[in-house]
């Protein structure tokens, strides 16, 4: 059978390598053989059986058995897949030497299938072989093999989930990323980072004062506001050496910096000597400070458009906090260049976040007594351009976009105190990231850790 030969051929190509290596299988789909299973918003039914574990070394330790669950959770959270529960799977798990029984998968309604084989080489060296099958055409369309330490196993699975999304839609997934956030678990508000699924929480600050509003400059650097020098100042954290640098010195009130898409500028709120709080733009070393808004009200929480030509921000100039948009082309706000108000409904709209593709602005709006998540669709020319994402008796606040623009991470007190969740904007599928007695809020999603290969 043709598929058997392909599999044998491909297996023959697999060669083991050193730490964190991977192999790209040769048959990347071309335009002609690009098989469309299904495009969002309808979800692809997929089967993800537990991974097979194959040990070379009989004395090796027991490897984590939950890797398949990592993949299942990622695929579900993306909103593009519907994972068929394991109790419905007909076939027993077999080693992948023999051909995949596509008939069995079709019978339970699966259109795709993802398999994994985990191999332990002892001494904290693992390799994971991951395959993604199109059940309808009975072929493997994506295959990767990763090698690394036990600690990097989850990351390998996240990377594969991103590869699946890249293959399926042409746009890479966001699972191999980190999310920065504020937590008061230590008794004071500090900054932390974690994986996109809530694991591997790592502290960024530990100064026992007050730390807020983290934003990523790029996949390695984080900017945040901290009170460790008495007044709120901006600091930068470097992932490589976990080092902290202070950004602002002269200005005494620096709040909520957002990095421009090219990572060279920061937009933030500053207080001028007269006591007015306005939006300013400056370089990442706090030089070349340029005033943007000029209004007696409070202006803050800026977010950049992906082409860096606009800022959206919050202002209470009309009485309560509302979201405005301003073009940076014409310089400082003046009589001929005024910000445009984007939110008309509701008395309190805040936390704007501009999507990576530039088409939407997500925000939290209070309706009644609770905050819910909304999106403003910017390219809809007619009719109401407001989309409501949540309508719950709890608060959903602080939305931030995943780099692929498919999901928002946000903070909600649905579980009693504030925890972080993600929601896929197409399917509305939510995933809980933190589950603690403390408050977690103000999340920010890093760009992908894996750079695209040319």
């Amino acid at each position: 059978m043709k598929s058997g030969r392909i599999i044998a051929f491909l297996l023959g190509l697999l060669v083991s390598q050193a730490v964190a290596a991977e192999i790209n299988l040769p048959d990347e789909p071309t335009a002609e053989d690009f098989i469309v299973i299904s495009k969002a918003p309808s979800q692809v039914p997929i089967a993800v059986p537990d991974f097979l574990i194959k040990y070379s070394d009989p004395y090796s330790r027991k490897a984590p058995a939950s890797l398949a669950q990592v993949l299942r959770n990622d695929l579900e959270a993306s909103g593009l897949f519907k994972v068929i529960p394991q109790e419905f799977y007909l076939q027993k798990l077999r080693l992948l030497d023999s051909k995949e029984d596509f008939a069995a998968w079709s019978m339970i309604g699966a259109e795709a299938c993802a398999r994994g084989i985990l191999d332990c080489r002892g001494d904290d060296l693992y390799s994971v072989e991951l395959r993604f099958y199109d059940v309808t055409s009975k072929s493997m369309v994506l295959g990767k093999r990763y090698t690394g330490s036990e600690q990097s196993l989850r990351r390998m699975i996240h990377r594969f989930a991103d590869e699946i999304l890249l293959w399926l839609t042409g746009k890479r997934g966001s699972f191999e990323t980190r999310i920065a956030f504020v937590s008061d678990i230590s008794g004071r508000k500090e900054i932390y980072v974690m994986d996109s699924d809530g694991y591997n929480i790592q502290p960024v600050t530990n100064n026992r004062t007050l730390n807020l509003a983290p934003e990523w400059l790029d996949e390695d650097r984080l900017v945040y506001t901290s009170y460790r020098k008495v007044q709120p100042h901006l600091f930068m954290w470097q992932r490589e050496d976990a080092g902290e640098t202070r950004i602002t010195y002269k200005t005494s009130f620096n709040l909520g910096a957002a990095a421009s898409p090219d990572g060279r500028n920061l937009a933030l709120a500053l207080e001028n000597p007269g006591g007015n709080i306005d939006i300013y733009v400056m370089k990442t070393d706090a030089s070349r400070i340029l005033r943007i808004t000029s209004n007696p009200g409070i202006d803050l929480s800026p977010t950049w458009s992906p082409d860096a030509r606009f800022l959206a921000f919050v202002s209470d100039r009309s009485g309560g906090p509302q979201i405005y948009m301003f073009s940076l082309d014409a310089g400082t706000e003046g009589t001929k260049n005024k910000p445009v108000r984007l939110t008309e409904e509701g008395s309190y709209n805040t936390g704007p976040a501009w999507s990576p593709d530039g088409k939407r602005i997500a925000f939290a709006g209070r309706r009644g007594n609770q905050f819910d998540l909304f999106m403003i669709e910017l390219d809809r020319s007619q009719g109401s351009n407001l989309v409501r994402l949540t309508e719950t008796p709890w608060n959903e606040e602080d939305p931030a976009w995943s780099p692929d623009g498919r999901m928002l991470v946000y903070s909600s007190n649905k579980g009693g105190n504030y925890d972080l969740y993600t929601i896929s904007i197409y399917a509305g599928k939510t995933r809980r990231l933190t589950d603690s007695e403390s408050m977690e809020a103000a999340p920010a999603w890093s760009p992908c850790l894996r750079k695209e290969e040319p």
């Binding site: 008794g187 807020l212 009170y227 709120p232 709080i277 919050v314 309560g320 209070r366």
Partner: protein
């Protein structure tokens, strides 16, 4: 005949000047009514308040506060006489607040045995911002709000918090009375410097609340300056919603948390 004519002429003259005088008087009354009405009312209120303070024996039990109120009222009167009605009104408001303060302090102190005039007992007030989990030690640079008043020469209480309406940063009536007391306290201790903290309830976004807290601290600072405290003794900081006085999630807690707090810094 000549005498009679002169008399008639004289009467006519008198009538004209009477009419002119009455018209001038009416004009003055109208003017006075129109421009000075608010100021007048406020001065009357201040007078009433000062009267109440006298009745509460403020001259004996709260002499400094009473004198301040008297001085402000005198200034209000002189501004009024010079037709500076807006200034007069403002001064009268201050006078009234100071008089209310004097009366309240006098009433308080009368109840304390052995308290009279400048011999009031020392009062020690310690204000610790509670952390979220009941820990007691305070981090450097944030929430450092311990206020001790142990000075033997001190008359009266230490600096008091003021509260704000939801999503607002203007001084309420109650706030202004408290601020009069705080300004008094500051004036009696010219070497003391303070950091004014702005705080918010937990409603709304964290970032917006930091800004709102800053506006509140700023408003309190500006008011103290207006009451005569030197700006070089004042600085501001905002903690937004992050250091609540009351960790509850209800209206009562929120009301308490919307405040400006005055912390002494060396």
């Amino acid at each position: 005949m000549k005498n009679h004519l002169m008399q008639t002429g004289g009467n006519r003259m008198k009538r004209k000047s009477t009419i002119a005088f009455m018209m001038a008087l009416m004009a003055c009354c109208i003017l006075w009514q129109g421009c000075g009405k608010d100021a007048r009312e406020m001065i009357e209120q201040a007078e009433t308040a000062l009267g109440e303070a006298r009745e509460a024996e403020a001259r004996k039990y709260a002499p400094e506060e009473y004198i301040s109120a008297e001085e402000s009222l005198a200034t209000a009167h002189s501004k009024f006489d010079n037709r500076r009605y807006k200034d007069a009104e403002a001064q009268a408001i201050t006078a009234r607040d100071q008089a209310v303060l004097a009366r309240d302090r006098a009433l308080e102190r009368k109840q304390q045995p052995g308290a009279a005039g400048a011999g009031a007992e020392d009062q020690e007030l310690v204000y610790n911002v509670p952390s979220l989990y009941g820990e007691e030690d305070i981090a450097e640079g944030a929430g450092l709000t311990s206020v001790e008043v142990g000075d033997a020469a001190v008359v009266g209480a230490a600096l008091k918090d003021i509260n704000f309406d939801f999503d607002r940063y203007y001084m309420t009536e109650d706030a202004r009375v408290v601020m009069a007391g705080n300004a008094q306290w500051m004036k009696e201790r010219p070497d003391v410097k303070i950091r004014i903290e702005g705080h918010c309830d937990e409603l709304g976004s964290e970032e917006y609340n930091i800004a709102l807290g800053e506006k509140r601290a700023r408003a309190a600072m500006d008011y103290l300056i207006q009451l005569g405290v030197s700006p070089s003794r004042l600085e501001t900081i905002s903690y937004g919603e992050s250091l609540p006085l009351d960790p509850g999630h209800n209206d009562k807690a929120w009301e308490k948390n919307r405040r400006a707090h005055f912390a002494i810094v060396e």
